[in-house]
């Protein structure tokens, strides 16, 4: 048996090595549709080794712990790109090689987390806002994050299980920037969140659509793509862009330093920058795209959805999420522990 197994996997190993025309892509699960991968393989003849992760933090830890990366394209979120660029973990891209770069929305090509736009290719984005089931709260005036502090929502709120997202709300409602490194401001945000605790029913970020559709929770914060998915199946669900501002995250493709197949990485990037491919991705997962040209390829119900695509006016209310310094991260992590221990 053992011998047989050995033969089987040595065969597989040689098969894997025989075809060196590959690109190793490491992305958020669900953020690159299998259809996109299949089409790329068919059109270019380059084999994609596609692996997935489920949080920036683990991606970063994994890249830090290994000396030499085996990946050619990785897809971190905005604030981690800033950190990776500063720590010399990713390459400056030669944008001239990417003929489809022009398809991108200019609003996303020089963001705060990558001011020169040289490190990252924006792919999908999203933002957290207020979600509410109007069957339960038909006439409530919900416009701002601060409305969630009302005592009538006692033990009913859903918060994302993500310290940065929750502290964004704590900071925004006090009028501070969500990218604030000031430890005093973070302390005030924490005290502000402690006042919200009696209203909190649960923290979750992985099954928000099902919790909303099944009405296990009827009000709280959620990402717009999740709210859209929930809205499709339970029309009572509404998504509100908070008037006291919100934070936009952008998941981007970057190329790690010393990527083994750099040429293929460029081919992959240029391929996914095509309007058609970006549109295919939106249709599969409902995440907004930074690819402006892609909008033309979308069915009208998606292209015109106010949940998925905020208006230009609303977009101005958004902050790009950037990296924080060590002290700030340390205090957020500490206050997060304190919040959960209350």
């Amino acid at each position: 048996m053992k011998k047989w197994v050995y033969i089987a996997f040595s065969l597989l190993c040689t098969l894997a090595r025989a075809n060196d025309n590959v690109v190793n892509v490491y992305a958020w699960s669900q953020e690159v549709s299998p259809k996109v991968v299949r089409q790329f393989q068919k059109d270019t003849g380059i084999r994609v080794n596609f692996s997935t992760f489920d949080s920036n933090e683990v991606l970063y830890a994994k890249m830090k712990a290994s000396r030499q990366t085996q990946y050619d394209v990785v897809e971190p979120s905005s604030y981690y790109i800033m950190r990776m660029a500063r720590e010399n973990m990713i390459e400056k891209l030669d944008l001239g090689k990417l003929s489809n770069y022009k398809n991108l929305n200019p609003a996303f090509t020089h963001p705060d987390y990558d001011p020169t736009g040289e490190y990252s290719i924006p792919w999908v984005l999203g933002l957290a806002g207020i979600v509410v089931n109007r069957k339960y709260y038909p006439n409530d005036n919900l416009e701002k994050w601060t409305d969630l502090w009302s005592p009538k929502y006692r033990n009913s709120l859903l918060l994302l299980d993500d310290p940065r997202e929750v502290f964004n709300v704590g900071l925004l409602t006090l009028g501070y920037s969500p990218n604030d490194n000031n430890v005093q401001h973070l302390k005030k945000a924490y005290e502000n969140l402690v006042a919200l605790l009696p209203n909190v029913r649960l923290y979750n970020s992985s099954s928000v659509p099902s919790l909303l559709i099944d009405e296990d929770v009827t009000i709280g914060m959620g990402w717009n793509a999740d709210a859209y998915k929930a809205h499709l199946q339970n029309p009572n669900i509404e998504f509100i862009y908070p008037k006291d501002k919100f934070v936009i995250w952008v998941d981007c493709f970057v190329v790690p330093k010393n990527a083994p197949h750099r040429e293929n990485a460029y081919k992959f990037l240029n391929y996914v920058l095509q309007a058609k491919i970006a549109a295919l991705q939106v249709k599969e997962t409902f995440y907004p795209t930074a690819n402006l040209a892609a909008i033309d390829y979308l069915p009208p119900e998606i292209a015109n959805s106010k949940i998925i695509f905020p208006s230009v006016e609303q977009l101005k209310q958004g902050y790009f999420q950037t990296d924080l310094n060590d002290d700030a991260l340390e205090s957020i992590s500490r206050y997060w522990q304190l919040l959960k221990l209350q």
Partner: protein
Amino acid sequence: MKRSLRVGYLALIYLFLYIPIGTLIVYSFNNAVFSMLWHGFTLNWYRVVLQDGSLWIAVWHSFYLAIAATASALFIGTLAAISLYRYRFRGKNLLQGLLFIIIITPDIVLGIALLILFSLSGLSLGFWSLYIAHVTFCIPFVVVIVYSRAKSIDPNIFAAASDLGASELKIFWDIIVPILLPALISGALLCFALSFDDIVISFFVSGPGFEILPIKIFGLARLGVNVELNALCSLLFALTLVLVCLSQWVTRRKTI
């Protein structure tokens, strides 16, 4: 204890263990994308799962990884348990301590530590790194189970056997292994389950080109793609059930 009471108790525990499995099988036919309530019957999810080639590659990778890791962990773990039980040697306490450390270390710490080790030694991430990691975290479970069985062996047996001229290897195969058999079976079943289900450690020590099932499942589940996963797990469950029935049938025929 009365017989009916015993059977009743076993049935209750099995019920507790199988209710979630039953639920996921029922919901694999559910005609809803995200909702976890019943919305009507469909076979659509099975179609989706059967057409997803990358999923089945991951299943196959996980399967032979689990087989290889189980076989090796069982072998090393059994030798370890027997040595700890029978022999006195220097460093015995160290070994016991190490087994204990591996159990207590949170997955994420072991995962990162192993990744640092592999990276320092230049081992590229893929099948071998996963294999080493899985064998390492499976060994302590085998040792604990086998050891608690070995404790019940009368040590005089060994003295008697070697007085009668049996070699150490013969004692191992003809005396120890048969006595330990239930522990070996339990250990193997448990190791397979552990290896087939490990997420955190595997995440850190896996590389491109060798994707395994638990990581894929975890990623999909995080994004709420549960119906598809229900169908996949139902299929895998059916598959193992068939294998189990087959093996039962084969052994029964042998004994007849």
